[in-house]
């Protein structure tokens, strides 16, 4: 047993990381799906792409914390722009999401082509943020990602009652003296944080599915909020776990799409199961 663990040390660490990511995105995804803001995550994840490239251009190295910090900043900027468009125009909400996600992704492509033109040898690997990858991940990266995931899960567990009230009965929630603005911002920050740590594994394009699919699956099995959170975290974790195992055995397949296919199939199976039942 000991030699098995020693031989597969990296594999085990990577698997723990992806399972945690799947779990935390599933839990948080339940909240945003119930808030009917499922597609915001899609726009924010796409918008983080230029942030990764820009922080590489400024800092000239691929330090994970800095790249992810850049990603988070751009997610926040894009969210700010979406809110401003909503405030100052009558443009339909989904149009502004679509504009933001394609515009920012385009900006990312421009920055990437500038970096590639400079011929800096360090830049290889930046495009891994599009579909995610685990082969070259460092132990320290997994450490950061795991710690952040656990913190996010703890915050949600501690605030579960408040979040439940906020989602289902905002008026009552306000009348109890809580600030719905504060909780709303907190959830948004958590979404951005989870996107930041998730894009390294599943990539910016498919991040939305990791958030949404487990929560749709969980919704088919139970109508209770807490059960939904637990089930969704479980489905997300399982997808992350299986996805990593399959990807490590098939190195030519990207890990992001594998995780997405597994979690979506769980969701589709749950929908069919409920329908048949």
């Amino acid at each position: 047993m000991e030699t098995l663990i020693a031989n597969n040390y990296i594999l085990i660490i990577v698997t723990i990381g992806t399972t945690l990511i799947g779990c935390v995105s599933g839990i948080l995804g339940t909240i945003i799906t119930l808030k009917k803001e499922a597609l915001v995550g899609n726009a924010l994840a796409h918008a983080s792409f230029p942030g990764v490239i820009l922080s590489f251009m400024i800092m000239k190295n691929k330090n994970m914390e800095l790249l992810l910090f850049g990603a988070g900043c751009f997610s926040a900027i894009s969210l700010f722009i979406i809110k401003k468009i909503k405030k100052y125009s009558k443009i339909k909400y989904d149009s502004s999401l679509a504009l933001i996600l394609s515009g920012f992704f385009g900006l990312g492509q421009v920055l990437l082509s500038i970096v590639q033109n400079t011929g800096n040898p360090d830049q290889s690997g930046l495009e891994n943020f599009i579909f995610g990858e685990v082969a070259t991940i460092l132990f320290s990266d997994i450490e950061i990602i795991s710690i952040i995931s656990i913190i996010v899960i703890c915050i949600i567990i501690l605030l579960r009652k408040e979040i439940k009230l906020f989602i289902f009965d905002e008026e009552f929630f306000k009348s109890l003296g809580y600030s719905s603005k504060f909780l709303d911002s907190l959830i948004t920050i958590l979404v951005i944080v989870v996107i930041m740590i998730g894009i390294r594994f599943v990539g910016v394009i498919l991040m939305t599915s990791v958030l949404i699919a487990p929560s749709i699956a969980a919704r088919q099995w139970s109508n209770f909020f807490y059960n939904n959170l637990i089930l969704s975290g479980f489905f997300g974790g399982i997808s992350g776990l299986l996805g990593t195992l399959i990807s490590l055995n098939n190195p030519d397949l990207s890990i992001g799409p594998i995780i997405v296919v597994i979690s979506s199939l769980i969701a589709v199976a749950s929908i069919i199961f409920k329908k048949v039942k």
Binding site: I81, S95, G106, I258, V261
Partner: protein
Amino acid sequence: MNLEILSILILTSFTCSLIGVFISLRKMAMLMDAISHTVLLGVVLVYLIAKDINSPFLIIGASIICVLTVYLIEILSNLNIEKGAAIGLIFPLFFSIGVLIMDRELKNSQISVNSALFGKLEFIIFERFKINDFDLGPLALCIALIIAIITTVFIIFFYKELKLISFDKIFAKTSGVSVLIVHYLFLSLISVTAVASFNVVGVILVISLIIGPSITSLLFTKDLKKTIYLSIIIGIFNSLLGYIVAFKYDIAISGVVSSINIGLFLLALFARGMNEYYRRKLS
């Protein structure tokens, strides 16, 4: 400067900004995003059978997958799943399957993940359209021209019906317009456009060509006809500007065009806001 690339880009953005007006009015922007992503699966599946990226079946087959996507999303919405969530479930699944098939079966073939994401406008002119060795120009230019003509004819022919279902679905139903037929015809049209644009600008940036010009023009006018004209003008202007900038600095064309699309929209929003602010201050 390469006039062939420029004309492909301008024709594509003409078509996109034309249908974009109806897509933004009908709240189909994210649905269009889903369609443009699933094009990848359609293209990959047809390519596996036909083994030819220029096969005419590619456009038909991939369009069928796109319409199927929309149909699946509608089924899920009827099963008590919120529409946004349904979109977010279906398109990543199809897109991922497409990417995985490409990773596994189509290494070193004519389609790559990179060109699927960003398009390959820079290289597209090397595929020529020849009849008996007589060069009629790049194949993509011919396709773009045909799609532009079909779209224009469709919009002119069904203008009244499209206007009705965009603004007042219930009235459209009662006045005898068969909403369902126009809806699915329109879906097929945008699917064909998405497939044709796939090669030119890639799956993500086509949304920018479709949404950017149309919502910029919707900021300034409420009249449908004026919106359409303005949208086309803005679309062509953005592509032209984008091409010039990209050519000058030797960077990715499609990325520059979509950055300009969002940039111009935000500029227009800001200018309109300032204008209103000062008007209120003066009066």
